[in-house]
Amino acid sequence: MALDIFKETGVPLEKQEFDWRDLVREPISKLDDDAFTRVRVILMNGIENESWTFQHQFHRMNEALRLPLARVRRAEQHQQTVVNWLLPADQSVLETTIAYEQVAVEVTASLAQNEVDPYVKQVLDFGLLEDFDHLYRYSALLDRLEGKDANNILQSYTDVAPGRPTKEEHRDPFDDLREHYDHKRAAPITKINALTIVAAEQQTRNYYATVGNVYADPIARQLYAEISSIEEQHVTQYGSLIDPRETWLEKWLLHEVTEVYNYFGCMQQETNPRIKAIWERFVQYELGHLHVVMDLFRRVENRDPAEVLPATLPETISFKSQRDYVRNILETQVDLRPIGTQFVDKSQVPSSSPSHAYRARVNREGSPSELVSAGYRYIPGTELLDRARVLRGANGHGSRGRVQA
């Protein structure tokens, strides 16, 4: 099913109405909904927050467009609330964190496979292995702090194993910047991918930066501090892919088409009919926003939106397990490290690299990510279940033997 973004004008902005009851719907079920429904909710929350943030920066830099920006932004605000409030309250902060890392792994892997620019694909693959490692570290924390199994959230779609070790991911900012695409030559999917991943990673950074103080446990607080810092590096990395020479209106147009593209992908693949109806509605809302901005683009910049927008929407994110792809990247690229904007094998990084000094400094009192996962291997039902089996076996299953029905 194709979507003609030039012909489909969606719901006009003035008809995009909400009330408080509408904003607060029944959340998804942590236990019964498919993990990819949760992945989509988390991704779209990030996409909405990026649009909101961008539009705030824009209106502080542009007198003439303040009102249309404020009007569109109000709708984005309420869409974000509808989406983010779909996460249920019985999902602990740490369980939600596991879900955030699942988004990072599965969505990044899908974006990388859709990417046509080999350098941008390389950047995505590089970041993928770091988020993959975060999932392993947080899974250890969930098991060892709350006694819970990360796979209750992951539903076996995503592997839990070490990636590029988090303690080695800390880099000097010099090694986090990447080359940006050329906005006149890059394919629309490259621009959409860059905005999608920067939105997802920014949301992750903001989430960890906000909730890292929720836990009392000093290891948990340190782990969030450490991984939040890496997510800041990722936002720097992915943000630097975007061409700074794009005009503000051009960027706004790209934000709106990114929203249409992602809601459309969610709508096509959603398995929960109640949630699918929300994605359908917001595809129409975002088309409404896109056409507002297309009109402004024509009038203010005297340019044709077709210069920037794709004639048809590119292939959407594939919301399914990317296990084979991830394992392949892990096997072949785990030892890559950046020198400035380029990637090399870690053996080629000179000892004078500013990242060596940076890492030595931040890790000098030890690494929380190493500490929390010392000796940890994922075991279904938590590592405690394994210990319990061993203990029962050693005790001859107590005085009456193995429990029978």
């Binding site: 819970k148 446990d217 039902g381 210990r387």
Partner: protein, 251 residues
């Protein structure tokens, strides 16, 4: 020993700011309150409760053996689903319970004990018994053809409840008595949980299983007695400090 009850600069009470609090109270009394009453919130909660589904479900057994057992229990009019839910709940509780006692051991190592307080050996023993009880539930779920890795709705709910306990036990600022009061909450709940589970197993004709659960209950009753005794002893120690005029000092 680290004590929470030392005198300090606690700023939360209205009496700490006699001048500002007077202004606060006078102004609040002069302002017109919003229309209606606090019952309005009850109505909203009621409406949402009626409109909303449940947290989640208990999955069907994943093995043929489990399906056969569940069908048999259904024929007997027994609520196999409730039983599986409660087993999952107990397993989740014992997992968190083990982690709570691990955190308690770290607390003990940092702060030490006191007259009539826990010993390290006893805390380790309780931790191991929580783990063993997890093993018992695991065997029971497997014997019924269930999947012990499932988070049932009951397991989910005790997870939500347990977060507060985990927070108290893992907070570096908490004292032995504060941690013990959290363990008391856990042990009280756990005792009732095992009793319910044993009765349920009995009612469903799983006699062997019920006996294993009663043995676990016996151990849990001892845990409860110990925690209660340790809490009483903390008060005793605090009282003796007060009577000798000593101020509590950080450990």
């Amino acid at each position: 020993m680290k004590q929470a009850s030392g005198t300090g600069k606690n700023a939360t009470g209205i009496g700490m700011s006699p001048i500002d609090s007077k202004k606060l109270i006078e102004y609040a009394l002069r302002a017109l309150p919003s229309a209606g009453s606090e019952h309005a919130m009850e109505e909203v909660r009621e409406a949402f409760t009626l409109d909303t589904g449940v947290i989640g479900s208990v999955p069907p057994p994943s093995s043929l053996k489990g399906m056969a057992k569940m069908a048999l229990d259904a024929v007997k009019g027994n609520k196999a689903t409730i039983f599986i839910d409660k087993l999952g709940e107990r397993a989740a509780f014992e997992r968190t319970g083990t982690r709570l006692y691990e955190a308690m051991l770290a607390k003990y190592d940092a702060l030490g004990s006191y007259d009539g307080g826990p010993t390290r050996e006893r805390l380790e023993e309780i931790r191991d018994e929580e783990l063993e009880h997890l093993g018992i539930v695991n065997e029971a779920i497997l014997a019924l053809g269930g999947d012990p890795t499932v988070m049932t709705p009951g397991a989910d709910i005790v997870g939500v409840q347990g977060i507060g306990l985990v927070q108290v036990l893992t907070d570096p600022r908490t004292t032995m008595d504060q941690c013990l009061s959290s363990l008391l909450v856990a042990e009280l709940t756990d005792n009732d949980g095992w009793e319910l589970l044993a009765n349920l197993a009995e009612a469903m004709g799983h006699t062997e299983m019920a006996q294993a659960f009663r043995e676990a209950l016996d151990a849990e009753e001892t845990h409860l007695d110990d925690v209660r005794r340790w809490i009483v002893a903390t008060v005793g120690e605090a009282a003796s400090l007060t009577s000798s005029g000593s101020e509590a000092s950080p450990a």
